[in-house]
């Protein structure tokens, strides 16, 4: 099912959870809504489910307005962070709940319900627990039952609110894989809220990054990494160094470092001076023992963290730019084998400068 949200506004007292938000989700996709806590992502999900109502704006399912459709008529599946299974019902009855509630005329026969529930339990690989109670299952098992329950009544849309938030790392990883496989099997439009970008990477095709009730950027994980729309996105996706610079007469400086002599964009250069944010990702650096041209940064190695295929270095600028995280491949590192305390010359290979204007301009260095 296709979802459109237009001009959504939702206010809780003084706090504006959604602020003129527009969103379009094509049918059949698995989309992650990513953002820090309090950015309004759960509110957005609850509004789409019908558990909250919009103050302003419009919500459409497949082009039909659903802003005021009561929650029980929306045919969505919702998976809660803390499972919300019905404690007094067996696992079987939990999964059957949505089917048994249907009006008498639409309700499937008992044998059909039975078959559907057992099929779903087989899909989540929990057939043997059908007669147990939720409290007798582990967290990961409970969440899989919650998925089965949400899918039982064949929802047009699946909404997941931090579904793996309460589970430990190992179970989370397995469940993410499982969720991907399940989506391939049952290609229902799935929206899935998380604050964990690695989770978004592992599961979603596209990612919606939210900040303070608005959408900051939408794209595949690769697009967001390669071309973040703002320092916030760059920072939130991880692996980025952010510096606060000064711009004067068309040149940008960080501390004593001269970044760029030519003005990079007319609209920005109009302002004689402003304070841009400079973003350099941690793997966009070349390190060496000799200075390599004018734009080399003088740094000293503070610490060293080899981790698998990559080696992370913590550098500190000797020119007042603060600390810098650099990620080298094992191969690059083995060429030089820098040690803590050593002076290292670093050359950024790709620099993004964000002014107050929303779009970052990529400057090849």
């Amino acid at each position: 099912m296709r979802i459109e949200v237009q001009g959504a506004i939702k206010q809780f007292g003084q706090y504006r959870a959604l602020d003129q938000l527009d969103l379009h989700i094509p049918a059949g996709e698995m989309v992650a809504i990513l953002g820090p806590s309090g950015c309004g992502k759960t509110t957005l999900l609850r509004i789409i489910a019908g558990l909250e109502s919009l103050d302003h704006g419009m919500l459409c399912f497949d082009g039909v307005e659903a802003t005021h459709t009561p929650v029980q008529e929306r045919r969505v599946g919702f998976v809660f962070q803390h499972y919300a299974l019905f404690g007094h019902m067996t696992i079987f009855e939990n999964v059957a709940f949505g089917l048994r509630l249907k009006p008498r005329k639409q309700r499937p026969a008992e044998s059909v319900i039975r078959k559907r529930v057992l099929d779903l339990l087989a899909m989540v690989q929990l057939e043997p627990v059908a007669s147990r109670y939720p409290a007798q299952l582990s967290g990961g098992q409970r969440q899989r039952i919650a998925f089965a329950r949400a899918l039982a009544a064949e929802p047009r849309l699946l909404l997941l609110d931090e579904p793996f938030g309460a589970l430990d790392a190992r179970v989370r990883h397995d469940l993410r894989q499982w969720l991907r496989q399940m989506h391939a099997l049952v290609p229902v439009t799935t929206l899935f809220v998380t604050h964990d970008q690695t989770e978004a990477v592992e599961v979603a095709e596209r990612v919606v990054v939210m900040k303070q009730g608005r959408i900051e950027q939408i794209g595949t994980m690769d697009e967001l990494h390669a071309n973040p729309a703002s320092p916030f996105v760059a920072d939130f996706m991880g692996g980025a160094n952010l510096f606060h610079g000064r711009m004067e007469n068309g040149t940008t400086r960080i501390g004593e470092i001269l970044l760029e002599s030519a003005p990079f964009q007319a609209s920005v250069a109009d302002a004689a001076s402003c304070s841009p944010v400079i973003c350099i990702r941690s793997h966009d650096w070349q390190l060496g023992r000799q200075p390599n041209g004018q734009r080399t940064w003088h740094t000293v190695v503070r610490h060293l963290r080899p981790s698998g295929a990559v080696v992370r270095l913590g550098l500190e600028s000797l020119q007042g730019a603060g600390s810098i995280d650099v990620e080298l491949t094992r191969e690059q590192y083995d060429k030089h084998r820098f040690q803590p305390g050593e002076t290292v010359f670093a050359l950024p290979t790709q620099v993004r400068i964000f002014t107050d204007a929303p779009k970052g301009s990529v400057v090849p260095n």
């Binding site: 019908g50 558990l51 299974l85």
Partner: protein, 290 residues
């Protein structure tokens, strides 16, 4: 599998108090219980049956006693369902909804506990009594409330109002609304959600509230005493009848009726223990298999 805690797991020589301290403390508790609970109960039994089973039986089968028993049962039968419905509604509103005056409502529910039952009774006398605010209106319609059954029911209703609600509010608040939301999303209407999810979730608390409410409704003395007028065979409930008999020096009869109230109290306690065990067992069972 037992709901009883295994204390030996928690006590070790390091954390234990000396033997004489433990003996002294538990001794004091036992002494108090004997003096103020067990002894009076035994006394009631002894007095009730002191003049033989025949006297006991005739005291209970006396028409006035039977009328008192009937009135008490009638009162409980009317009061408990009303308070059950009110308690569930109030707890639901307080635990689930945000509205103006919510704190006022919570305070008001506590009011019958805070006010002396005698004052509660007087409120009704002031409202409906012969000199009360509504006296002329009630006279016009020939409705008798004070010194009649409606007054007794109203006063009992007022006194027992908090029991179910107070029991349910914390349970519903602790449970949160997620299960209810899950039911709504799965297609349940508000009523279906209440019936299939909310109510089963609070069933033990509800039952407990009802049992306490019933015990109090049958045992209430102060408020009922003010509004009833102690008309034998007409407006005497069991506790009032006990007092009447006692004042007339019919000790054995008084204690015989009292013994029925004691039996009620014991049944209530047994129900409570049974329910707690039921709940505890469910929990232990679930945890045991996890």
């Amino acid at each position: 599998m037992s709901a009883v805690l295994d204390w030996s797991r928690y006590s070790s020589p390091v954390t234990q108090d000396p033997l004489w301290v433990r003996r002294l403390l538990s001794g004091m508790v036992v002494l108090f219980l004997m003096l103020f609970l067990v002894l009076p109960l035994i006394f009631i039994g002894v007095q009730a049956f002191g003049k033989g089973i025949h006297v006991y039986w005739s005291a209970l089968s006396n028409p006035d006693s039977l009328a008192a028993i009937r009135l008490t049962l009638l009162t409980a039968l009317l009061v408990v369902p009303v308070n059950l419905v009110f308690g569930v509604c109030a707890a639901w509103a307080i635990a689930r909804k945000e509205f103006r005056g919510k704190n006022l409502l919570i305070t008001l529910i506590d009011l019958p506990f805070a006010v002396s039952p005698v004052i509660s009774g007087l409120i009704f006398v002031l409202l409906f009594g012969a000199q009360g605010w509504l006296a002329t209106w009630l006279n016009d319609w020939q409705i008798k409330i004070i010194f009649a059954v409606p007054g007794i029911v109203l006063a009992t209703l007022f006194v027992t109002l908090p029991f179910v609600a107070k029991e349910l509010i914390p349970i519903m608040q602790a449970r949160g609304r997620q299960e209810e939301e899950a039911a709504r999303v799965l297609g349940a209407s508000g009523w279906q959600t209440f019936w299939h999810v909310t109510l089963p979730g609070i069933r033990w608390g509800l039952l407990y509230g009802v049992i306490l409410c019933n015990a109090r409704a049958m045992g209430e003395f102060g408020a009922v005493s003010v509004v009833s007028g102690h008309i034998r065979g007409l407006t005497n409930t069991m506790p009032l009848h006990v007092e009447t008999l006692y004042n007339e020096y019919q000790g054995a009869a008084a204690f015989a009726v009292a013994s029925l109230l004691v039996a009620l109290a014991l049944v209530t306690l047994v129900c409570k223990v049974w329910m707690e065990r039921q709940q505890g067992e469910v929990k232990v069972e679930k945890q045991g298999k996890e």
